[in-house]
Amino acid sequence: MISALASTVVQHDLRWLLLLICAWGGIGLAGMLRQRSLLVVRVLFPLGSLTCLLVAILAGVFLASGQASQAMVLPLGLPDLPFHLRLDALSAFFLLILGVAGAGISIFSAGYFRVGEGTSPGLMGLQYHLFLASMAVVLLADDAYLFMVAWETMALSSYFLVTSQHRIPEIRRAGFLYLLIAHVGAICILLCFGVLQGGSWLFIFDAMRSATLTPLLASTAFLLALLGFGAKAGLVPMHVWLPEAHPAAPSPVSAMMSGLMLKTAVYGMLRVSFDLLHVRFWQWGVLLLALGLFSALYGAIFAAVQTDMKRLLAYSSIENVGIIFAGIGLSILFETCNLHLFAALALCAALVHSLNHALFKSLLFLTTGSVLHATKQRNLGKLGGLIRRMPWVASMALVGTLAIAGLPPLNGFVSEWLLLQSFLFTPEIPHEFVNMFVPLGAAVLALTAALAAYVMVKFYGVVFLGQPREASLADAHDANLLERLGLVWLALGCILIGVMPQLALRPASAVTRKLLGQSILPTGSIWWIAPIAPKQASYSGLIMLLGIVGVVGITFLLVRLLAHGRTRRVATWDCGYPYQNARMQDTAEGFGQPIRHMFGTFFRMERDLPAPEESSPHYRIRIEDRLWHAIYQPIARAVQWLADVVGVLQGGSLSIYLLYSFLTLIVLLVFVL
């Protein structure tokens, strides 16, 4: 009975998914009925969360069933180009991410949104569920038009979510920048599809798959895709919108954007480079690798000097996206050198990291949301000591922190480990220089990972540990039940994948089998993963966890039994310094100081140093992105200049206008002659 049901579900997976997407739409619209009622939020978001869960289950079932793909054509869209949908392993994997992380974020949102904070809850619900639905459609789209429609709907709905507190000028500015870059990126993607169709002028993905492109055209398409999807993913130098927009949004929305929306860009990049393009060149791999690693390093360095907790996390997203793109690049590099197994390994790492990042970044953004609600503070310099006021949030944040810092036995480590493993095989690449330089990438990756740990220690330490830096923090309250539920869900995800990486590797392998025809070594054992060969390298998060827990437990018992000293609570010692207070702790700026010192060339810094005799000395430092000044401002200036030049044309004098039309006439007449 159940198996029969399961098999029908599997056969009509895509239809069910479509139904669920429609359900999101319905949930969103239902919120419009009672726009200002909070009850709507408390009821609808859990329903949305349930839908997410069902999506994840359906995607998981599809991946497990090993089907090739399911396709469908809807009677909507352009007359000659109806909406095509297709569910295959790649889209199913990303739907899985969407479902799993989305479920946690939605249930958290149910407890998070309030009346009177920007957009009314009902409208927020509409935008939120539209956002979810459009992301799902992006993943399922099988023609360029539907893809673009869903892609831009995603951008638009998220834009409205970002600007929900639009009374604040910075938020408006962030929203504008976000939508602008998203739009420019979308134009690039559109162009990319235009190149990809390869003379068939059919914008169905199937036609693109069978198109044969010259190397030049293929490279053009790849570069356009890189620009377009890179802009969405926040690859340096198209990243400028990200640290503005993510902090501006309400925290669950930041979580969605960072955790899920960036993944759609990864999906798009994979879809174009591995599925739609029939050839790949190793230079692409190198480019992607270099760009990815640079973004990773750049993001990590900038994250280390941030003073706003959400900006810090946003930069950390740039870092993680960089790691994912580096994995994709490495995979392309291997694949073009016919090292398919290693390509599968690298791709697997990228995919698993996508999933992991979705989990821990959402988790962390949600905790910042709770902190924000409890303290009304985003500035790290005014937080501190929240672990005592908000134990739930703090402990969940600790899981996220450890996971994102890439520490075993949590999930962040798994993907970084896989990626480092794949770097080990770069000497096999038959291109001189490349095989010498690429191993250095592993060092950059290691540096990034270690910097990420630095960043996260800063984040967690400054927000949750130490003494409260402001008196008002004393009345911070812990997250409510629904919020906790969401946090726990995501934290459990982090732990589970860290301990049982197979849970993520199996679906990822289904994807690599589809894209590369190869997957890393499956192990039957639940204890180990050994992607290439057990002798080569193996890892077991479970044993690590059990080992640490076991040793800690035994030690604790032994110490308890043998060394049973009492514990006294005393004042802080601090080398006996008596005037100790909260302001003497390292601030966010202080913690970032070594990074500023070492990577000074990356930043554009402005320091206000107090004069020696000042009665109330004040030290301030402003850090800006060099790339903003180097790339974006010149473009803006150029446009402004052109606009000024053009403005002369409309000078107000009728005679001059008449002269224009006269000259036009003459010129055209000469042209006709």
Partner: protein, 318 residues
């Protein structure tokens, strides 16, 4: 068969826990000799541990559970690391749980916990120590990874036991890259274990200290565990070094029997004695660096490791 390997595994861990303080004591003694000071007993660390364990703990009012749990976590990770590193034999059931990269991860876990705990109380020293520790960490990790990369390129594995096995399988090959890697490794070891020229384990001078600054608020059994964990860390690093560069005397896969085990214990002790005196010598000969010179020092280590890698790739010894 399985039983024996588990017993061996267990024995190795116990041995590590037992002799790690001895190794620290030995280094301290050597240092004192070399600096013409009267040396403490080689068992001084044990005495200190015993004293600390017997005391009542004084815990700052502001300490959170994280602060109290950290010593145990530190100790746990280091013990686990000791279980993974093939110090006596390569046929370790636990070793499959983590290769060299995971080992670095494990050390990083310990470092992050210690730094978090240091920030927990909310003192100026604590957070300063945490900051510096993390800084050293992110500089040392890439260098260490390059060293391991080098080794794994030689023997086609990142699993430490396989490295040792591989080395034993081709004992005649000594790759020139190993020399670079070894120097780099020693530099990382010094930095990671709070040794001169990066840090000084014997000072509480506020401007210079790193590791000690993080421990200021610990006392009694907590301090004992933290100290023990740092002895273990030093011991582990030494064992990693042995496994990578001087794996003689480690019982490889399939070589069972009491004799082999005894021999390997002797070999380990011998290597520790030599390594300890060498470390003491380095510490005696070098001066403590300013904290902002530390990046240069570690960059040097990184450079050496990369050079080793390139030399290996260039000479193509496989």
């Amino acid at each position: 068969m399985r039983g024996i390997t588990f017993i061996r595994q267990f024995g190795e861990v116990i041995l590590a826990i037992a002799i790690a303080p001895l190794f620290a004591g030995w280094i301290a003694q050597c240092r004192a000799w070399m600096q013409s000071r009267s040396a403490p007993l080689v068992t001084q660390p044990y005495r200190m541990l015993r004293k600390l364990f017997s005391k009542d703990a004084a815990l700052a009012e502001t300490a959170s559970p994280l602060f109290r749990i950290t010593p145990y976590v530190l100790f746990g990770t280091m013990v686990l690391a000791a279980a993974i590193i093939p110090s006596l034999a390569t046929d370790l059931p636990f070793a499959r749980a983590a290769d060299a990269i995971a080992l670095i991860g494990l050390f990083a876990t310990a470092r992050v916990f210690l730094s978090l705990a240091a920030m927990d109380i909310g003192t100026g020293f604590g957070s300063m120590g945490a900051r510096r520790e993390m800084m050293i960490g992110f500089l040392a990790e890439p260098a260490l990874l390059m060293v391991l990369f080098n080794a794994s390129l030689l023997y086609g594995s990142t699993a430490l036991p396989s490295l040792v096995d591989g080395y034993r399988a081709h004992p005649t090959i000594i790759d020139p890259s190993v020399i670079f890697a070894a120097v780099a490794f020693v530099m990382v070891l010094l930095a990671e274990n709070a040794r001169i020229p990066i840090d000084n384990p014997a000072t509480h001078l506020e401007l210079t200290m790193i590791h000690e600054a993080m421990l200021l608020e610990y006392s009694a059994r907590h301090l004992a565990l933290v100290e023990w964990a740092s002895y273990l860390k030093l011991f582990n690093y030494a064992c990693i070094g042995f496994a990578l560069f001087v794996p003689w005397g480690i019982a490889i896969h399939g070589s069972d029997g009491g004799g082999v085990l005894a021999l390997s214990i002797v070999a380990l002790l011998g290597k520790l004695v030599v390594a300890g005196s060498a470390l003491a010598l380095i510490e005696t000969l070098s001066a403590k660096l300013r904290i902002f010179r530390a990046p240069e020092f570690l960059a040097m280590a990184f450079l050496l490791a990369v050079l080793g890698l390139l030399v290996h790739l260039l000479l193509g010894v496989r």
